[in-house]
Every structure is written in structure tokens, then in C-alpha cells.
Amino acid sequence: MTSTPIALGQRGESGRAAGAGSPVPAAPPRRRARRRTMSASQWTALGFAAPLLVYLVLFYAYPLWRNIDLSVHDYTIRAFVQGDPEFVGIQNYVELFTSSTFGTALANTLFFVFVSIIFQFSLGLALAVFFRANFPLSNLLRALFLVPWLLPLIVSASTWSWMLNSDHGIVNSVLQSFGIGQINWLTSPDTSLLAVTIANIWLGIPFNLVILYSGLQNIPGEVYEAASLDGAGPWRQFWSITFPLLKPVSAITLLLGLIYTLKVVDVIWVMTTGGPGTSSTTLAVWSYREAFGTGQPSFSLAAAVGNVLIVIALVFGFLHLRLQRGQENS
């Protein structure tokens, strides 16, 4: 999950940018007076924002519109080139929801996302608490923890493929020395999803560590000093101070992790291509496979799956904005 940290941190008023409840925030009265005319300074502001606005229309709005267009037509390769697809309305969506892959992909997505997040978060938090203590080399070691997160995903994914290789992989070799027989991590339908989830957990730990660590830095040390004067041990301090005070940051970390994990394609694709069968196919992988993963692309179905994925991501996204707004109001 190396994806984009969603910037939430605009200071001041811009941070309140349109919450989930009311998409159009009411303009403050004093500004309404000069709403009608465009002052010279507004033209200047628009001039500086113009490249971004053009960019958003050309490279976000237009491809997304094309994607919706794909999903309501029957695009074949031929129709793609000639541009004469048949309009089929919601047929692709009907096909998607009645497909036998849908249930599997949804269940796999839920498993992949939630198991990944639970472990990434709890390990990230444990490490953040550990590195909070000031000991020799702590900064260096914490920096080294970032490495997995900065590596190209394809690098990590191919390394994990080799480590989990049935015959010559180091993981099986170590397990064998504990008397555990060979596990076909990537080639058995029973373990493929688990294998990609393990790799993804590893990938997500650094991100969780960084955010949670910075959250810990904002908890004043005096609180801990007072607690230890009152005789609270480390365990008690964690549950009575760290955990509650870290709640806002934790909530954001969890939601970000959720949005990123939903999108993951490359890790799974490189390790298992969603297989064997559909045993490690998530919604994102399914969409990728339909469009680009087989010799016979089914762009329309893939676009429909992609749009369902957008809707799921947006639902959690709005939740995230709501949460952020709640935090700023409190």
C-alpha cells in the first residue's frame, strides 16, 4: 500500500472543505456581498489555479467520464477502435452482480482489507510506542523501517514470491525446521489469499508507524510523568493515556489504510495474478484482469467493476471527511 497519503491537513479554514453532510458549505454572510463581481484579485487567483483546473478536467474528469461510458456500452476490441459500441444500459452491472466471481471477489476484498489493516495498524502502533522511548540508535532504526514502504511494489512483491516459493523458498525451509510440512503458499487456493495478505501487511507497517509515531509526538510528556508519579505502569499508561489520546490519529490511519488497501492491484497481480482460479481475486484485481489480464479484454465489465470500487472507496472517503470535520469542531 504505497499509495497517496490523502492530504487532510490544510490549516485553518480550508481544512473544513465541504463535509460529508453538507456538500455545499454555506458561505459566510460577509462574503456574499461581493459574490456577484469578479474583482481583479480574483482573476489573478483564477489565473494561478487555471493550470490545475484544466488538468483536472482533462486528466481526471474526462477519463472518468470515459470509464462510465465504457460501463454502459458493450465495448469489444473492435468497437474500441471503430467507436461504435452498442448501448446496453445497466446490463454490465447486472452481469457483474450475478457473476459467480462477484461473491468471491467481495469476500476476498473484505478479508484482504480487514486482515491487512488490523495487523498493519496494531504492529505499527506497537512499534511507534516502542520507538517513542529514547534509546541509542532509535532514530536510525526507525528510518530503516521506512525502506519497505519506499521500494517499488513490484520489487517487494517479486521478493515475497521468491520467499514463499513452494520448493526453494526460505519461508517453507524455516517452517520445515519446525516440523511443518511444505505449504504451497501461492499455488494452493487455500493459502494464496493469506500469502498476498501477509506481504501486504509487511508493506503497510511503515506507513502506519510513521503516522502513529507523529501522533504520539503530539502527546505531551508531562501527562506520562504525572501518570508514573501516580504509579501507573507502562501497560496502564498505554490504555489510559496513549490509546485514548491517539484515537483521532488512529481513526484517520485506519481509514487511509482502508482506502489504499481497497485499491491494491500490483502486489496481488505479481504474486498470484488473483489465482489460482479466483482464490485471491479482489474487486480491484478482478477489474484489472477483465480489462488487461487476459487475451480477450472485457473493458465494459471491467469498467463496471471499477465503478463499484469507486463507490465503495467514496463511501469510506466521506466517512473520513466527516470524521475530520468532527475533529476540527471539537
Partner: protein, 272 residues
């Protein structure tokens, strides 16, 4: 706390780091292993008969791909900064009307899965003849960094002291002049952070590369590795050597710009 106890923590920290970085070590180990030792059972924990064959193979076959990735990464940095910096200035300091809606749009933009964008781009590019071009890939890759860049610039620039801008205005500086001579130089750290992330994301992109540039003459290194795995499953030392080489930018940037990495994630993800 006694010194003894602190060293005990260091030892534990080293242990955690070793466990965490084991896959990275394993990649390097395999990349230095002789082909005949690759299938040893049990695998060797360190490369016996150290060989650089993997690296020779990787460099002789993947150098063009590395150059392509470099061009794409740098192109992405330039495009992202050119669009994001003025927009951040406009939103943060020029009180652009509608900036809240714009910020909202940028947040939403970041939630759109790359696989969906890839399909949209494919549909657009197939008509425009931009498939399999480096330029097309630069544009597609920048969609990950641009919203992040604008939000990061906005956050930073809102914190700049307004007095400096007012002073520049009193001295007769235009908005453009203030941007170039005052705001941009003061935002240097933001530019470094945005550039760092734009480069790393573009460098490590696989989804856009494998959908928009799969038959191109100039393929990026991630696709090079992927094709390698498909074509060449016997030479894992060469595959891992390529992977190790592809990780160099991340390693270099981490050493050079570690504080920007942390600052970028936290500025990007946590309230102030």
C-alpha cells in the same frame, strides 16, 4: 533510566529492524547467488560463491528501462510542481473563490483507484494515439501526485506569514513576482517533498505502465521486472538484481531526504 536498560532497548530495536528488513536482505542475497545454488535445499542464508552474474545480466538487459523510468520520474516531478505550486499559492494566499469545493475535489480525486483511472486513460489514449508513449505515461502517473501536491502546498503556504506578502506588495511586486521571488523560495521544503513523492510514485508505478505502455519501445523498469519474471523464471538472481537496482532511488532518497519523507507523510495525513 539506566544506560543498561536503554541498550537493552536498542538490542530489541535492532532485532525488530532485522526481522522487518529480512525480505530486503533476501532480495540482495538471491541477487548475488550463483544460478546453480538458487534451488539449493535448504536455501543458503548468505551467498556462497558470490557472483555478480545477476547484476551483469540485469544491467545489460535493463539499462534502457532504467533510463525510461528516470525520464518518466523526472517528467512527473516537473509536471506536478508546475501545476501544484501555483494552484497551492492561489488557494492558500490569493483566496481563490471556490477553494473549498476545489479542496474537496482533490480529496475525492485521491480516492479513485488507479486501475479505474488506467481504464479511462486507455480509452482516451487509444483514440489519441498516446498508448505506448513515455509522454502519455508521465501524464497518467502525475494523476497520483498532483492532488497530493496541491494539498501539501496549500497546507504549507497557508502557514506563511502574510506580512511578508504585504511588504512585497507595498514594494510594488505583482502577484506573479511575489510568487516567484517570495513564496516559492520560502516553500522550498514543500517543493522537495512533493518532488520526492512524485518521483517515487512514478518510479514505482506498475499499473499505468502495464496498461498504457505494455507494447512500447521504451518500457519502465517495473514492467521490465514483470516481463523478466514471466520470461525468465530460471534466473532469479538476475530478477532480484534488477529489483535491487530498481530500489536504489528509494534508498538514495531515503538517506538524502529522510526528514522530508516523514514530513510528507505526516503533513499529508495528520492534522497539522
Amino acid at each position: 533510566m539506566t544506560t543498561q536498560r536503554r541498550w537493552w532497548k536498542t538490542a530489541l530495536g535492532v532485532l525488530f529492524t532485522v526481522v522487518m528488513l529480512f525480505p530486503v536482505y533476501w532480495m540482495i542475497n538471491v541477487s548475488l547467488t550463483e544460478t546453480r545454488n538458487l534451488r539449493a535445499d535448504p536455501p543458503h542464508w548468505y551467498p556462497r560463491d558470490l557472483t555478480l552474474d545477476g547484476y551483469t545480466a540485469a544491467l545489460s538487459q535493463q539499462l534502457p528501462a532504467l533510463a525510461t523510468s528516470l525520464v518518466i520520474g523526472l517528467g512527473c516531478v516537473v509536471l506536478t510542481v508546475l501545476i501544484a505550486a501555483p494552484a497551492g499559492y492561489s488557494i492558500a494566499l490569493l483566496n481563490l473563490r471556490g477553494r473549498r469545493s476545489l479542496n474537496f475535489l482533490l480529496l475525492v480525486a485521491q480516492m479513485i483507484p488507479a486501475v479505474v483511472m488506467a481504464m479511462g486513460f486507455y480509452a482516451v489514449y487509444v483514440r489519441l494515439g498516446l498508448l505506448n508513449t513515455v509522454g502519455g505515461l508521465i501524464v497518467a502517473n502525475s494523476t497520483i501526485a498532483v492532488p497530493f501536491g496541491v494539498l501539501l502546498y496549500t497546507a504549507f503556504m497557508s502557514g506563511l506569514p502574510r506580512e511578508i506578502l504585504q511588504a512585497a506588495r507595498v514594494d510594488g511586486a505583482s502577484a506573479w513576482r511575489s510568487f516567484i521571488s517570495v513564496v516559492l523560495p520560502m516553500s522550498r521544503n514543500s517543493t522537495l517533498t512533493v518532488a520526492l513523492f512524485a518521483f517515487l510514485w512514478a518510479w514505482s508505478d506498475f499499473i499505468f505502465a502495464s496498461t498504457l505502455n505494455r507494447n512500447g519501445n521504451f518500457i519502465p523498469i517495473t514492467l521490465g521486472i514483470y516481463n523478466y519474471i514471466g520470461n525468465n523464471t530460471t534466473q532469479w538472481n538476475a530478477i532480484m538484481a534488477t529489483a535491487a537496482i530498481a530500489s536504489v532511488p528509494a534508498a538514495v532518497l531515503l538517506v538524502m531526504a529522510q526528514r522530508y519523507v516523514a514530513a510528507g507523510v505526516t503533513a499529508g495525513a495528520v492534522k497539522d
